[in-house]
């Protein structure tokens, strides 16, 4: 096993993927706890579809590092999504469904008009660890570090706002600001992570770790820490298994997450009975 890992890590593209993937998994799990508890799980799904739309358009226009275009666009959509959900007659779940399917449709239409359904598009959909270019790696590292720092700085406030928004407001916190911060950070992580995980699979690394750790852990701090660990472990196991069995990395990571979720659910049952 160790030999395989050494051999695996001798590839520069896998080194990049492991570095970026670990950081993204960690951040996705941190944000995921708040998103799941606030019942915003689907926002990840919606944003990844928006990301797909933007990436296909950017690629069609020949952008060399399309992430630099996708990141701001998806961030703006995240803010719009929250705004729609907060104060219009369209409820947020319908708003997410509307925006995500429209963006997906636009993306598919653009591809049909330009390159057709080639490997590039397939990589967007289901992810590829080969997709990470050097500038992408720098961007990913930068964003991940920002997300992690902001999460620690706002940890106390995020807890209050997530647990009880009215109490937070009555205590003088600007609750909307923190919801916006979460949405923006989620947008960043999703856009960066979707190159590797794929549009269809990225939202799972946000939701799974939080749900898995909530099976067993009953304190906010423990849930946050354990979902970060679960997320990174699933990622590393996933990338290892995908290397050995030659399975799509994104899919393998989701499957490992699923297995852990089932395992934790069984443990929960045993503890409770």
């Amino acid at each position: 096993m160790i030999e395989t890992i050494v051999e695996m890590m001798s590839h520069a593209f896998i080194q990049r993927a492991v570095l970026v993937g670990t950081l993204i998994s960690l951040c996705a799990a941190l944000l995921g706890v708040s998103l799941v508890l606030k019942r915003y799980s689907m926002i990840g799904d919606g944003l990844s579809h928006v990301g797909f739309g933007v990436l296909t358009i950017a690629t069609a226009f020949g952008a060399t590092s399309p992430l630099y275009i996708a990141v701001p666009c998806v961030t703006i959509s995240a803010i719009i999504l929250l705004k729609i959900g907060n104060n219009s007659k369209i409820k947020s779940d319908s708003a997410i469904a509307l925006i995500s399917s429209s963006a997906l449709a636009i993306g598919v239409a653009v591809t049909s008009l330009t390159t057709g359904m080639n490997t590039d598009v397939c990589n967007f959909m289901f992810g590829s660890i080969l997709a990470m270019s050097k500038p992408d790696v720098y961007l990913s590292i930068g964003v991940s570090i920002i997300v992690a720092i902001l999460f620690i700085v706002y940890y106390r406030k995020l807890f209050v706002v997530t647990f009880d928004e009215d109490f937070a407001k009555a205590s003088g916190l600007k609750a909307k600001r923190y919801t916006n911060i979460i949405a923006i950070l989620t947008a960043l992580i999703i856009t960066i992570g979707m190159r590797m995980m794929g549009v269809m699979l990225i939202s799972s690394i946000i939701i799974f770790p939080a749900l898995t750790s909530m099976r067993i852990f009953k304190s906010f701090k423990k849930v946050v820490l354990s979902s970060a660990i679960i997320s990174v472990v699933s990622f590393l196991m996933g990338i290892y298994l995908s290397y050995i069995y030659n399975i799509s990395t994104g899919a393998m990571i989701v499957i490992v997450n699923l297995v852990l979720f089932i395992l934790f659910s069984i443990i929960e049952k045993i503890i409770h009975d």
Binding site: L37, K38, R39, I152, V153, Y155, R156, K157, F159, V160, T162, F163, D164, E165, D166, F167, A168, K169, A170, S171, G172, L173, M214, F217, K218, S219, F220, K221, K222, V223
Partner: protein
């Protein structure tokens, strides 16, 4: 001394007609005030104006101190992973919004409050696993961490067994007598609440129709 003074407060939600009309109100220090009224009479709206959750009202609301708030139950909390300690400690946030971590004095305050309310020994338990009465006790503890003067409660005994509700009222009564905490609450549970309140305010259609001692208040007297 008046902890809260309201002068000519009017408020309406967009697209609805007046919810609160020309409210004048004073909440005295160390009083136990109970706001009663039917659904839609504007009780909760009034609380939210006082707490600053409703913006865009006309009139004046003067607050002398920090308010500890106990909102109505939210669905999110029913399976939220958080210990009693985490919930109570989070009440101290208004004391130092800026800092990154809880300060030593915050932790000390939370400990004192939990001891006072008899929940210190179970502080590592999960909030969501507690009974309704225990949950309210924890939320009262959190409110006490946010203030040293006044707590505002929105239907604190909703959905509780009568015997448990009685314990909550007795706890509030004790806080008022022993700790000089002013209590302002909205309640449906008029009969029982009036055993403990010293001031009753009745709201009908957004207007105050009664203000005075509970013994002078007759249920449905406005009919």
């Amino acid at each position: 001394m008046d902890l809260i003074q309201i002068k000519d407060l009017s408020f309406s939600y967009p697209s609805k007609k007046d919810t609160l009309k020309h409210i004048n109100l004073k909440v005295k220090k160390c009083s136990f005030t109970c706001i009663v009224g039917e659904n839609g009479s504007g009780k909760s709206t009034l609380l939210k104006c006082i707490l600053g959750l409703n913006k865009g009202y006309t009139g004046e609301i003067k607050k002398e101190t920090h308010i500890g708030y106990l909102p109505q139950k939210s669905e999110i909390q029913s399976n939220f992973p958080a210990t009693i300690e985490e919930v109570v400690l989070s009440g101290t946030i208004s004391n130092n919004v800026r800092s990154i971590f809880y300060k030593k004095e915050d932790k000390e305050k939370a400990k004192q409050v939990m001891e006072k309310l008899g929940i210190y020994d179970i502080r590592k338990k999960c909030f969501a696993d507690l009974s309704g009465g225990q949950q309210q006790r924890v939320l009262i503890a959190r409110a006490l961490c946010a203030t040293k003067d006044i707590i505002v409660l929105d239907e604190p005994t909703n959905g509780l067994d009568p015997s448990i509700a009685k314990q909550i009222y007795e706890l509030l009564d004790r806080l008022k007598k022993e700790e000089n905490i002013t209590i302002l609450m909205v309640s449906h549970d008029i009969e029982r609440a009036l055993n403990y309140a010293d001031t009753v305010i009745e709201l009908i259609n957004g207007e105050i129709t009664f203000e005075g001692k509970p013994q002078d208040f007759t249920l449905g007297g406005a009919k």
